[in-house]
């Protein structure tokens, strides 16, 4: 082999920058990181308020939920229609153990455990319930499993309604503690009123703090799930999804593997639940109804089942649709009508209720129409999963090397 072909690899070659940019996942993560960093700066500067940042923090827990459900539905192929139940369990774990609620319960003592500890407590609690639900039901397959999870999703909010001695029932749990930054992060300037990096960066006053927190949680979740996806367990999940009988014949214990999918998927929603409870500071059973499970499922399917970047984008798009675009439509329609000289449409007359009211009434039709349209245009999801290119390139390189070897032997 000539020396020219074996030139020393430059730093650029070694970092593989071009390859990485061409890899779609890396590109999407890059864009998401840039957007995540710029979003609060731009919106706060442009609107002078933090309303949009609060929206983004709320989109964050939907992203966490979608990442978790993707493990169950996208990787392992188990249709879970009761995912909100685990979210509720995580949220209530935090709400009860970090609020005055338990003082008015038979326990008579309020408990206030630190957020940073409880977020893992909620995670474990949700994982535990995932395993408890999974253990008797995972012998079921496909549609049957879906019905059981649907039942579980219905039962859990009812339990929180009816155990009102402990949970406050319909009155919800309020006054939930907010996280405190540990002193070592607040730094030596923490007691110093004059020293400010951004603005007073605290969870009590600043939505940006929650925004930063959720970005970190998402980053952690993405790293962990990606690791799992590219592991022995991730392959076992996919094998079960593709053909359970063949997977078992290859030595995969299908029951424990599915149980792990359920437990790990649930633990992410427990994570999200604790964060959610801390953010909104008020947890009621109404926040965890069937529609929540379905919305997360739509995020996963619409984003691209089985692909982590896909479900993140799917969750963001769906959040924008459901919680921003659609609720804002009537107002936007009204102001659009007035600005183009059709202000008369805004007045109600006879059967016509006025444009704003009419749009309000059509909300769900518009929402449904968008969903149908998106699924017709991209049935595989916005960013469908693909065979992992990087690893396959690795395989191709190995193959080439072996061909060279064989040639040398011959």
């Amino acid at each position: 082999m000539s020396n020219a072909a074996k030139a020393r690899p430059t730093l650029r070659d070694r970092l593989n920058i071009r390859e990485r940019i061409r890899d779609r996942d890396t590109a999407v993560y890059g864009i998401l990181i840039i957007v995540a960093v710029l979003f609060p700066l731009v919106t706060v500067y442009a609107t002078g308020g933090t309303a949009l940042v609060s929206h983004a923090t709320r989109a964050g827990y939907w992203v966490l939920l979608a990442i978790g459900l993707n493990v169950v539905v996208g990787f392992a192929g188990l249709l879970d229609l009761g995912y909100a139940a685990f979210f509720a369990i995580g949220a209530y774990t935090y709400a009860l153990l970090a609020s005055p609620q338990l003082a008015s319960s038979p326990a008579h003592h309020a408990v206030h455990i630190n957020f940073w500890i409880l977020i893992f407590g909620s995670l474990l609690m949700a994982a535990l319930f995932g395993a408890i639900l999974g253990f008797p039901t995972l012998r079921l397959r496909g549609d049957y499993l879906a019905i059981v999870t649907l039942g579980f999703g219905e039962i859990v909010p009812q339990l929180f309604y009816n155990f009102d001695q402990w949970t406050g029932g319909i009155n919800a749990v309020g006054l939930i503690d907010q996280p405190l930054l540990p002193a070592w992060i607040q730094g030596p300037w923490s007691g110093d009123g004059d020293f400010k990096i951004v603005s007073p960066f605290s969870f009590n006053t600043d939505p940006v703090a929650f925004y930063v927190l959720v970005c970190f949680l998402i980053a952690i979740a993405v790293i962990l799930v990606t690791n799992l996806y590219r592991s022995r367990l991730g392959r076992a999940w996919m094998a079960i999804r593709e053909d359970e009988v063949a997977a078992a014949a290859m030595g995969i214990n299908t029951v424990t593997t599915k149980l792990l999918a359920f437990g790990i998927g649930a633990s992410f929603s427990g994570f999200a639940g604790a964060y959610y409870a801390a953010d909104v500071a008020l947890v009621s059973p109404d926040n965890f109804l069937f529609i929540v499970s379905i919305t997360v499922l739509v995020m996963v399917v619409l984003g691209g089942m089985g692909n982590i970047t896909g479900v993140i984008v799917g969750a963001l798009v769906m959040y924008y649709l459901v919680f921003y675009l659609i609720p804002g439509l009537p107002e936007n329609a009204t102001s659009l009508a007035s600005s183009i000289g059709l202000g008369s449409l805004n007045q109600s007359s006879g059967d016509w209720p006025g444009l704003g009211e009419e749009t309000q009434r059509l909300n769900f039709i518009i929402y449904g129409g968008i969903l149908v349209g998106m699924m017709l245009l991209r049935p595989q999801g916005l960013l469908p999963s693909r065979v992992r290119e990087q690893e396959l390139k690795h395989a191709a390189v190995l193959e080439e090397a072996s061909a060279v070897e064989e040639g040398a032997r011959a």
Binding site: L224, N227, L228, R230, S231, R232, L233, G234, R235, A236, M238, A239, E242, D243, V245, A246, A247, A248, A249, M250, G251, I252, N253, T254, L260, I264, V387, R388, E391, L392, K393, H394, A395, A396, L398, E399, S402
Partner: protein, 273 residues
């Protein structure tokens, strides 16, 4: 008390294997589905390192027998002893761990996974990584992944489809899919390989290649137990044959004897022939 008894049992079981000459022994194996007797009181034994064939007309219970051995079905009666160990009623994944791998009559690959991943799934039972190791990508988990990737590539080369490593399994040609299934089964490091009609739908050329492949597998020290319809293949590679008809064993012996057996000829061609 109880624990020591278990230990005793286990140690007894573990002592046996190396001394057994037969890798698989079926004793009076019976499988009923309601009123239908699919496998009827079949006994047979397979010696280490041989190629053993199971033949018989359609519906004779050949695949059902395979399923009873690999744990997909639990036998109604009788015993399955593998490598000196009673595995009657074990779960499929336990059977695979002990060292029996199989392919399926109607190919059952993981369609939307790459060929490489299909084979790496086969390696699953011989891997040690636990959830925590994978979650945090511990260095030794990384090394195990690399090693398994190389082993999987080696197996793909062994069956001759390495250049398709990065394609979805479903995109392979039919014959390549059969080979991939064999590679996936070999990845579990089996002592006994069960092939369910591996030559079905093959061209004569492909059949010759398959027979060469089986010989290569044999030279790795793996015993082969196959179901096959094609007499050329069966006669060409197997040392002993058992013939099933209506779930019953009607003949057993080396190919030349079985071919001349009156009962076998009747079963295949009907009485008038």
């Amino acid at each position: 008390m109880r624990r020591s008894w278990r230990k005793h049992l286990r140690s007894r079981r573990e002592r046996v294997p190396e001394s057994t000459e037969n890798i698989l022994e079926l004793t009076n194996l019976t499988k009923r589905f309601g009123g239908l007797v699919a496998v009827d009181n079949v006994s047979l034994h397979i010696k280490r390192g041989e190629v053993f064939a199971l033949i018989g007309p359609n519906g004779a219970g050949k695949t059902t027998l395979f399923n009873n051995v690999t744990g997909l079905f639990t036998p109604t009666a009788g015993r399955v002893v593998f490598d000196g160990r009673d595995i009657t009623g074990s779960k499929p994944h336990q059977v695979a761990r002990l060292g029996i791998a199989r392919t399926f009559q109607n190919i059952r690959l993981f369609d939307y996974m790459s060929c490489l991943d299909n084979v790496r799934v086969g390696r699953h039972v011989r891997m040690k990584a636990k959830v925590w190791d994978s979650l945090f990508k511990l260095p030794w988990e990384r090394r195990e992944e690399e090693r398994v990737t190389e082993e999987a590539m080696e197996l793909l080369r062994f069956v001759g489809i390495a250049k398709h490593a990065n394609q979805y399994a479903r995109n392979l040609a039919y014959g390549q899919q059969r080979r991939l299934e064999i590679a996936r089964a070999l990845a579990t490091d089996p002592k006994l390989l069960l092939l369910d009609e591996p030559a079905a739908g093959f061209t004569p050329q492909e059949k010759v290649e398959l027979m060469q492949l089986v010989k290569k597998i044999l030279s790795r020290g793996i015993t082969v137990f196959l179901i096959e319809h094609d007499m050329k293949v069966v006669m060409g590679i197997s040392e002993r044959i058992v013939v099933l008809d209506h779930g019953e064993k009607i003949a057993e012996g080396p190919p030349d004897e079985v071919r001349k057996d009156v009962k076998v000829i009747e079963a295949y061609l009907g009485k008038s022939a």
